[in-house]
Structure formats: C-alpha cells, structure tokens
Amino acid sequence: MISLRELTVRYGATVAVDGITLDLTPDKIYGLLGRNGSGKTSLLSVLASYRRASAGTVTVDGVDPFENPALMRGTAFIRDQLDVTTQDRVDRVLDFAGRLRPTWDAGYAEHLTDVFELDRRKRVSALSRGQRSSLGVVLGLAARAPLTILDEVYLGMDAAARTAFYRELLADYLAHPRTIILSTHLIEEVADLFEQVIVIDRGRLLVHEDTDTFKARGVAVTGPAAVVDAFVSGRTVLSERSLGGVRQATLYGGLDPRDVERAGAEGLSLAPVGVQDLFVHLTSGAADGTHRSEALR
C-alpha cells in the first residue's frame, strides 16, 4: 500500500502539491489526471524518490521509499524527457538498464523494440520524438518494477504506436500484475485501462475513486430549459449549454432510482458523461471566473 499523507511540494512561493492525502492499493492501474501545472509530475517525482516532499509523508508498506534501496529498485519512473544519455545507442541504453535492474526482462525489452520498430543501433539523439517515447515505454515496461510510473510517455507517438503501447501495457499487466500509474492528457484513449482515477487540480486532490464510480458521477440531463432548471436545482452543475429552448446540464453526483424515474416522467433524457468530459468539467473555469472544482471541495 502506498500512502501519502498531507503531501506538499513547494518551489519557493509556489505550491505545486498542496497537502494531498491518498492511499493506493497495490496491483492496480491508476490514471492520474490533471491540467498542465496541476502538480502531477511533482507528485510523481516524490513517489519515485526523485525529490523530497516539502512537507507530509510518503510510505510504501509503512516504509519511507526515499533512498531505500529495495523500494527504489522496485520503482520505474519514466518521464517525458528520458533519463538516458542521448549520445548512447538504443541497445546500450537497454543494456544499462539490464545491468542495474534486477527485475529487467531483456527478452521482453527486445520484443517491445520490435513492436515499436526501434532501431537498436540508432543513437537516442537520432530518434524522433515518438520513437523516444517508445523507448521510454520499453524502459518502463521491461523493468517490470512493482511500481511503474509513466508520466506523459506517449508524446509524439503516432496512433499505431499508442495503440501498441496500450495493448502491450494491458497484456503485460495481466501477465505480471503490478501498480501502474499513468499520467496522461489523452484521457479518452486510455480511460478504459484505468481501474482507479485520481484527479488533481491546482495541487489538490479532487477525486480518487474507481473508474466506474467516477463515470457514474457524471450525467448529462437534456430537455426543455425550464424542466431541466427545475430538475438540477440544488444539485452540483458542472456545465450548462442551451440551444433554442433545449438545455443540457452536466451534473456531478449520481442519481438515485427515484431521480431517474422522475427524469423519465418529466421527459428528460439522461446520458453518461465520459471520463474526459467529466475531467474537463471538473477542472475548467466557470463563466463567472470561479473554479468548478471549488464546489466539490
């Protein structure tokens, strides 16, 4: 179990992560979602022992992972800017990881380089942006680390490479269950992989729950404007839009069976909201300049 308690990361006067408390049960795929500058990478850097927290604690099974050899060996953190020597050839980068990582699977690394069509003789500096991202995926997955953190690893990857990445990730996770944290902006593409969703906004934890529960929290109510207004009154409205006399309101919070029945009786249609739409609604600014997420805190 990974436990974060009041975790805070500051850069001078800027608070990147603001007192996050969170428990991550092992062997699940987590989707870490947040807008640019929301503190995702800072949070992940602390989890991976790349930096110390300014305040608060991180523990893995009750132990501080910072400078703990066993726990650091069991963590693979792949950032969008790879932590490799760009003058090295791909095979040397993989060999380096193989020498240092006790859980490294060289055969699987070779398989992945074939899947992503990486030329092992090429220098990292000669790889395209997408190929570098693919190399990051190889390093992250072939490490088979109990805690695998992939931070925006898809940058520059074309659709085929991203599809291969999702396929390989899921297949390897099923064969070798481990805790995987995926930080991504391509939410719709990977939402089906997430078992749990973590949404942070301006450094603070907004949501942490099962993906299905999270999805069930969003519902789009569409119908005559006056009926919709009456129905949503007193509920948390994330967004509204109107076209003529028809209005659609996106609600946050599940509807109970009586609400569903009432909506049907009043001629309102209910539709689920995708993870990405829900995320956008939760983290985007309202027309009056306030943050919608404030309503959820």
């Binding site: 022992s49 790349y50 953190f77 932590d83």
Partner: protein, 230 residues
C-alpha cells in the same frame, strides 16, 4: 556483487573508451615529442612526466565534473539510490586515480628505458629509482584525487543550487585543487617538487582538504532532486 561495486563497474564501462583514448593520445604525444627533442639535442627533462603528469590530473577533474551531470540521473532512474551512486562513484574515482598515478610512473619508467637504449641517460634527466617512483606515485595520487573531487564538488554545487548557488559554493569546492596546486609543482628540470612544506605534510594536507571536498560533495548530493535533462 554489492550495488556500489556494480555502480563502479558500470562507470568503468562508461569511461573505458575515453580512458583508452586519453592514454593512447598521451603515449603518441610523448613518443613523437621525445623523438623530436632527442633529435635536436639531449633531453634534460621527462616529457612524459610533464604532459601525462599534468594532463592526468586535469582529465580526472573533468571526469569528476561529469560524474553527476552525466550519470546521476541515469543511475537513479534505474533504481540506484543516491548513496549507492556516491559510494560507487567513490570506488570508481579512487580506482581511476590509482591507475592514473601508476600509469604516469610506469610511463616515466618506459621513457627512461627507451632513452637508455641509446646510451647513458642525458644529464639533468629526472632519473627514476624505486624511491623516486614511490615519491612520484605519492605526489600524483593526492593531486589526482584533489582534482577529481574538486571537479565533482563544483558540478554538484551547480547541479543542486543552480548558477548563483553553484558560484557561491565554488571557493569551497575548489579548495582541494588549490591545495594540490599550491603544495605540489614542478622543479627547474620539470620534475615533480614539493613547495612550502615537507613532502609528508603536503600529502597529508592535500588528502585532508580532499576529504573535506568529498564531504561537501556527499552533503550536496545526498538528497538532491533528480532534474530532467536540459
């Protein structure tokens, strides 16, 4: 194999090509230079001691400077703790300094042997005996370590604290280098010489200041943030 030894062995693999290139370059320069000097007259100094003895310590300074800037990130990214990296880097650095010091002394012996093939050694040439060999080794090793540690400590300061913080730390970081350069130098025949204090004191002072440099290096890096490239 312990992790720190694994780190040291991996660093050795990384630096091996440039080490070979360095010593090949030194050997070629010394052979060509000594041949030219011998053709134009009798050499009254050791070109090998002059160029290899000097270049070796500067080269180790560069190695020290690159230890953190080029390697720390990659090792931590592959599950090595900072402490393990620092221990491995210390083993690698000490081994490199010892090997370099031995190579300088051994090269001097080879140079003397080659010069002796053509007759008696030229007057004024710094003849090597077992005693002077030990003394040369004992002078090069502390100098090499001082340069290595100074290079590492300077870069560590910039890596952790950025430009201004690194500059502020610079005077303390270069102290080992300053001590070595002040106390060890060259005599009139371009042989090794000790200045201001007796030989043993020079060695002890240099090693002590170098140890402080190691402490500074360790303090700066023991919990440093691993920054992304660029």
């Amino acid at each position: 194999m312990t992790t720190s030894r694994l780190v040291a062995a991996t660093l050795l693999r990384i630096y091996r090509p440039v080490v070979l290139w360095f010593w090949t370059t030194m050997a070629v320069c010394a052979v060509v230079g000594m041949t030219v000097i011998a053709l134009s007259g009798e050499p009254s100094f050791s070109l090998w001691l002059l160029i290899a003895g000097t270049a070796a310590k500067y080269w180790l300074g560069v190695v020290g400077a690159t230890l953190v800037s080029l390697n720390l990130r990659q090792f931590v990214a592959n599950g090595i703790t900072r402490r393990e990296f620092l221990a491995g880097a210390a083993i690698f650095g000490l081994s490199a300094a010892v090997v370099f010091a031995i190579a300088v002394v051994a090269g001097h012996g080879v140079e003397q042997l080659l010069l002796g093939l053509d007759g008696p050694l030229p007057a004024g040439y710094p003849t090597m005996t077992p005693g002077t060999a030990v003394r040369e080794f004992g002078q090069i090793l502390p100098s090499a370590l001082a340069f290595l540690v100074a290079g590492a400590a300077v870069t560590a300061g910039f890596y952790r604290f950025g430009a201004w913080g690194g500059l502020a730390l610079l005077p303390a970081a270069v102290l080992p280098l300053a001590a070595a350069e002040t106390l060890f130098g060259l005599d009139a025949n371009l042989g090794f010489a000790v200045r201001f204090v007796p030989y043993a004191a020079a060695v002890l002072i240099t090693l002590a200041v170098t140890a402080l440099g190691v402490l500074l290096y360790q303090r700066v890096l023991r919990d440093v943030t691993i920054r992304p490239a660029g």
